[in-house]
Amino acid sequence: MPTPSSQDSFLDTNLAAAFPILQQKIYQKSLIYLDNAATTQKPIQVIQALQQYYEQYNANIHRAAHTLSSIATRNVEDTRAMIQQWINAATTEEIIFTQGTTAAINLVAQTYAKQQLNAGDEILISLLEHHANIVPWQMLAQEKGVVLKVIPVKTDGTLDMDAFDQLLTAKTKMVALVHISSTLGIINPIEQIIQKAHARHAVVLIDGAQSIAHMPIDVQQWDVDFFVFSAHKAYGPTGLGILYGKKQYLEMMPPYQGGGGMVAHVTTHQSKYQPLPYKLEAGTPPIASICAFQEAIRFIQTIGYTKIQKIEHALLVYAQELLQKIPAITLYGTTDVKKKIGIIALNVQGMHHLDVGLLLDARGIAVRTGLLCTQPLIDYWQVDGMVRISLAVYNTFQDIAITVQALKNIIQKHGT
């Protein structure tokens, strides 16, 4: 199988070399990791930073007078400042550490939305949402009598913008939308959506779980009100998520969880809260993960989004071209590479997605199968699951070629 590598100099870089986990064999076969939308692997710098934290400056933050605590505290605040610049937030107060995307969305739903929305107000989500951006709003709808409305998709999986225009009314108080679909890789036109929502005075939350590792984020340019993502999907450690919120909205949010670190003054009856961002960060955060996340950001910035997008785009084009030539394979959603990132959802005719996943696994190839935490979207195609290939910057043309060949063999042996 010819690979288009020769003409592209950027493909010379062997990024996978920095990822120890990718060097191993699974069932005597070299691991090919194509489940990056679920979580990315971690480069050695991130792993070393975690170890360094525990070896050299493990201490609780914002509390003690001792040296270790002040090193840890400074490191945590350095990460906050790095993230602020990375996504172009106006101030560090606008960067809140959470446990993940899910926790960040729940935080906004249970504080901001719960306080600001009333019965009859409407929240707009879309059919492309991950369960993490559906269930918190359903819970709020049940609790407060707000109404959840869903923007449908067109047959190619892209958002139906005409329907959006109709659904967006004076009743819409909040739009909570995924930036990039975790199942189809489709990039939503969020700038346009934010503009239109703001014209109606609706507040917009964007779920950036799938965009942060793959394209530059500029919260100020987009004028987004809330932007959330998980460190573990951007080469960083697990257990850490980021909630960006415009200061005016974060100020309005009542504290969600009470505890240490978020209070300025406590008597047994009353507490005075810390200012932002600490007001929203009760208890001990995942300090090691926060410190090590700096290295993940540095990893992304060193390569640069321009090159990341170039590499992943080339891989996507190559993969889709090969897959489209296989008659037994159905691809879901648009294959227009200008509208998507390196996520491909497929099924093999006459085969169950779970069987395909297991047969790939036995060949050392890791993919995700099933409902992909986006059941409403999977239901739309009237299937009971899909096989998802999702790329990261360390994947190679060879990974794709081997995977496509494996799929061909599987189809030949087990397909109908």
Binding site: Y27, L354, D355, L358, L359, K413
Partner: protein, 148 residues
């Protein structure tokens, strides 16, 4: 006497399965393909047989088991929407069909650990497989109780 013959029989069937997996050795792909070949060879049930009543819950895939008794032995058939699970069912049926209920009830399944089956199917499916074994044993127990 008859009981001893039946016991020998199930142990022989067990040995056959163990030999097959032993032969495949450490080759994960070959083991999985073998299981899937078994699944593809297992006849499907009719749509009517794939009923809610015959469904085994607790599995990741949809699984159905049908059974009847003939001359003191249990006759089993099954189906699933995934080939891998059909393969697992096929193993169970290989062992249990045309066996006396008591033999099925008494059979200890811990030997499955030794053939590396759980590495092939993963922890979640191993859990589902346990549900299938349980269903077989429950069915056997029901027939057994009717007898005594």
């Amino acid at each position: 006497m008859a009981h001893d013959i039946a016991l020998t029989d199930i142990l022989q069937r067990r040995q056959k399965i163990m030999d097959a997996f032993q032969f495949l050795g450490e080759d994960q792909q070959a083991k999985l393909e073998y299981l899937m070949d078994l699944g593809e060879a297992l006849p499907s049930l009719t749509a009517a047989q794939r009923s809610e009543e015959n469904k085994i819950s607790g599995c990741m895939s949809k699984v159905w088991l049908v059974h009847r008794e003939e001359k003191g032995v249990l006759i089993l058939a099954g189906d699933s929407n995934t080939v891998i699970t059909k393969g697992l069912l096929s193993l169970l049926i290989q062992l249990y069909t045309h066996q006396k209920p008591k033999i099925i009830i008494d059979h200890d399944f811990s030997w499955l650990q030794t053939i590396g089956l759980y590495q092939i199917i993963g922890a979640q499916r191993a859990n589902g497989f346990a549900h299938m074994i349980n269903r077989c044993k429950m069915v056997a127990l029901r027939y057994y109780k009717q007898k005594v």
